[in-house]
Symmetry: C2
Subunit: 330 residues, 2 copies
């Protein structure tokens, strides 16, 4: 039974839904306003048979950034928290890390120094923690972490720090024939182990950054070994490239929150027929965080200008969302 | 209406199907025998709720090689015929090709000399004909070619030189909740424009070899430009890598015809639970071609040994298929 139908059932005084029940309120955690209206009108246009803007189901592809769009990305990317936790867990096997940056700083809890090495240091951390094992082993490591690690501010599992309005949007689109995809700068194999349970998005609909793998027979058993070598960076200009590589069809709807998503929104919006390009803007310092043009994480600057110039939909988190996280009690 | 239901309808003396109609004969172009039985029994095991070997729909992933498995690959790979046709079509813009191999030989119809340059010559031909345009332009070129080019032996469009029993197998698997994927050494963007119409496989379920692309804004319009640089070779050890990259989940059924598919079958067969690994063996010189251990195209040598050692299913085309191509009249 769909959540919408369950809701209708619960709301019925007789305890059953009338035969022609219309789901009472799609996008229930969205306030009435221009963002919610833009989404509802777009979906009605493309999904109504006979409409001038009708789009066949096979072409209803919607792409979502992950960090800052589906789940939070503060105070640091959750995948960075994962990598730091891995450094700590692996430290006993790496006594040399006690005297080698950036590992020493991570072990001492000094993230500022750890990140002072910039991109090179980050790459070292990623390769030390994400490569050198089989794909099956890495999946197990991520699955264990996501089940237990908790967000420092909310003291909730990271997997609960997802945006309730976006979960509703994913479900709403799927109910209307859309295939929903993640297209994230984050690691593809970091997201796949939990994306199906958390977002309803199966592994084959996750696009992300990745490292190379190598097929090997070990004692006659085939394995895929994760190598310390970048294969693909799914960010900025890389996002349309990743979309073409994995989907091979231009999406008709794209959802992001930062300049890293700009090219994905441009690529989506430039196709023929009806298009929805939407930015989530972080404006709610109380329930979440407020940041955009100056933020080192999730900067939204050029993208905001282009959204305004092109009339793209901009969600103002504070204004447009009744509830941010599923765990909020209101 | 499904083809199976149509069949049942046509077969009914009263012109309608009984309510509980069971499709009379799945895999109608397959002769009764061990290969057909192996497929039917496998599908029944994984798709019957309550069965010890039941597999949830989300995990019912089936992967198919293309050349020699879904469509023919003789006298040359169809994509090579496409590339040669492109060289001829592009020759007026490249007067230098009249004196430069391998192009000169192609223009003179001397394929032996054209291919004498080996891998390097092939790469030159591929880059000259497959790169240097936008993804949209290349899609148009392939779409035009596949609509008109004809197979030299059968004098039929290449898209009709597909195996009728495999079309039935694709449909049968999908009717039982499988997601069907192509995992081919051929070009991913060469297959996508027609795979949906010919096989019912959408572009996002096509994995293949590919070249790099670059995102650009041209007069403010975003395009993806195809670059003369290999991105990925989806053959042999590359096939499990491509499967992991695109699907992120191990298939439970794999279908191939050559040593290039061996690692894909190994990877698929090595997972837990019920597995189907199947080789199509080309044994029918009359209706198609007969080739295996010695063939330069589609060699099946190591794979055949391993299939016999591991008890994988081997289709003997001559023995197991009632009909090879849809256009055969019998």
């Amino acid at each position: 039974m769909s959540p919408a139908l369950l809701l209708a059932l619960a709301a019925s005084p007789l305890g059953f839904a009338p035969q022609a029940a219309v789901p009472a309120s799609p996008l229930a955690s969205w306030n009435d306003g221009p963002a919610r209206t833009a989404v509802l009108e777009f979906v009605e246009r493309v999904a109504t048979p006979g409409s001038d803007d009708f789009v066949p189901v096979a072409e209803r592809i919607a792409v979502f950034d992950n960090d800052g769009t589906l789940w939070a990305e503060q105070p640091i990317y959750f995948q960075a928290a994962f990598a730091f936790d891995r450094v700590k867990a692996m430290a006993p096997e790496h006594p040399e890390w006690k005297q080698a940056q950036p590992f020493q700083a991570i072990l001492e809890g000094d993230l500022k120094t750890a990140l002072a090495g910039g991109e090179h240091a980050l790459l070292e951390i990623v390769m030390a923690t994400h490569a050198g094992m089989t794909t099956d082993a890495f999946e197990g490591i991520v699955t264990d972490w996501i089940a237990t690690a908790r967000h420092p501010r909310f003291d909730r599992p990271y997997r609960e720090c997802v945006y309730q309005p976006m979960l509703e949007l994913l479900a709403y689109l799927r109910e209307h024939g859309f295939e929903t995809w993640i297209v994230s700068g984050g690691g593809i194999e970091f997201m796949r182990p939990w994306a199906e349970q958390v977002y309803g998005i199966p592994p084959q609909q996750v696009v992300g950054s990745g490292i190379k793998t190598r097929f090997e027979l070990r004692d006659g058993q085939p394995v895929l070994v994760r190598l310390p070598e970048i294969d693909f960076i799914d960010d900025k200009e890389g996002k349309p490239v990743g979309i073409q590589r994995h989907i091979g069809r231009r999406p008709i709807a794209a959802f992001g929150n930062s300049d890293g998503d700009l090219q994905m929104l441009q690529w989506t919006a430039a196709g023929p027929g009806p298009r929805l390009a939407l930015y989530v803007r972080h404006t709610d310092a109380e329930r979440e965080w407020a940041y955009d043009r100056e933020s080192p994480v999730g900067r939204l600057d050029k993208g905001l200008d282009e959204a305004q110039a092109k009339g793209w939909t901009v969600v103002d988190m504070k204004r447009d969302w009744k509830r941010v996280f599923p765990f909020e009690t209101r």
